[in-house]
Symmetry: C2
Subunit: 258 residues, 2 copies
């Protein structure tokens, strides 16, 4: 069993964007209101989030998350980490540690931005207490294998995650990515549910656009593909009609039982 | 003219707190739902915010803020700065700078946590572009004098702000403070509206509690005092009845025309 809840499906600026007068930013469709991208994953024996953007607290309350065994980080751009401090309400016990999985570069950036939490100096009771785990290869969370895939996103080091259970590639989360390399494509082969970040319609220097996302979905041909990390380029109702069969726009709060 | 809108009135963990089962955290009274503390100040010729916590984007959208000439920081604790990146939607023009006023220590911490914005290296168009102004003494925003007051808050360097217009001390915002020193008390003498952070009922090592807040209000005897930076210790309706005349609990969205 693996369930994925989309805690947020927005780009770095969210939707609506501050001071934007466009139709999507003023849409009444709740599916057009997107907090920063993050997913909550639940299995029979563990639960974790990927990324903690600025609105993490709101996302946790909205999804009524009571339990969190680990946090995985895709990378350390602001829209993926700035809610880190709100992890203080989790941990195994009051004052207990919360396991943080990240690449070396991302962990270093977390340690810089949240030095008070990592340094161990002048700790107040109640500070978030991270337990750092560097991602160096596949690892286990309970009985689920997590396969990290390094993908291209400009100068940033981004990790996509493939979740495997009992020899089956259940789902992959590829949030910020311009290109998946040959090795990554091989790892993703046969994945059942593919989640891809496709923020825009235009060509973008560091992200796949919608067309590139559709091409990747076609190439990997998973059972279903969900697009996330969406900007105001996409009104949900209209855009969904433009997508191929088995390709869907995600929206905040959507839950996939896989 | 000076108007203050409370963008948030909560402590570092907000209200409701994640995973809390208490009555206030489950209250249906919207005044018991508190985002992280911040105020929006409007005058005839300028507007600014004090602090940008993690939920800054939500707060801007909720208050429909279209204009921001400056940002003032009280200090650099996580609950006061983690929404910094969302300032990118302001600035004088697309790609334009936004003036940031902070103490030397706070500015340094902002520069560490948001180095991509300050460093000038590898800038993407659309990054927030801060224009740093170190707070070294009183300064002007339009015709309003801003008087910084250094206050005690554990090991952190916190600045409280007094807003003066035409020789009149219109309002003061003292967010995170255990004690105001003799010089600060003198500066605050005669203030019309006092806003004080009083997170809790119990004795706290780095904050005034409600009793200490009431004592300070009595000592300075402003026309009115508002308490902010409130934890789940305070159900709005019940707590308001405990307070002396002219002392009030603030709530998110409250607007004071002064």
């Amino acid at each position: 069993m693996l369930a994925i809840t989309f805690l947020g499906t927005g780009t770095s600026m969210g939707v609506p964007m501050i001071r934007c007068r466009c139709e999507v930013c003023h849409s009444k469709d709740p599916r057009d209101q997107r907090l920063r991208s993050s997913i909550y994953v639940q299995t029979a024996d563990r639960s974790w989030v990927v990324d903690t953007g600025a609105e993490f607290r709101i996302q946790v309350l909205r999804a009524n998350i009571q339990n969190l065994d680990a946090v995985l980080y895709s990378h350390s751009h602001a829209d993926h980490i700035m809610g880190f401090d709100d992890l203080r309400r989790f941990g195994s016990a009051p004052g207990g540690a919360i396991p943080i999985y990240a690449s070396k570069e991302t962990m270093q950036n977390l340690q810089i931005a949240f030095s008070y939490a990592f340094s161990g100096e002048a700790r107040f009771p109640g500070y978030v207490l991270p337990e750092p785990h560097l991602i160096l290869g596949p690892f286990l969370l309970g009985k689920t294998e997590i396969h990290p895939i390094r993908v291209e996103h400009g100068n940033a080091h981004v990790i996509a995650f493939l979740f495997r259970q009992a020899g089956r590639s259940v789902a992959a989360y590829v949030s910020d990515c311009k290109r998946v390399g040959a090795e990554g494509l091989k790892t993703l082969e046969g994945v059942d549910t593919l989640i891809l970040g496709t923020p825009c319609r235009r060509e973008h220097p560091t992200h796949m656009n919608m067309i590139e996302g559709i091409a990747l979905a076609k190439r990997l041909s998973p059972r279903q593909t969900y697009f996330t990390h969406l900007s105001h380029d996409f009104g949900h109702a209209i855009t969904q009609k433009e997508l191929p069969e088995n390709v869907f726009l995600a929206h905040d709060g959507l839950r996939l039982g896989l």
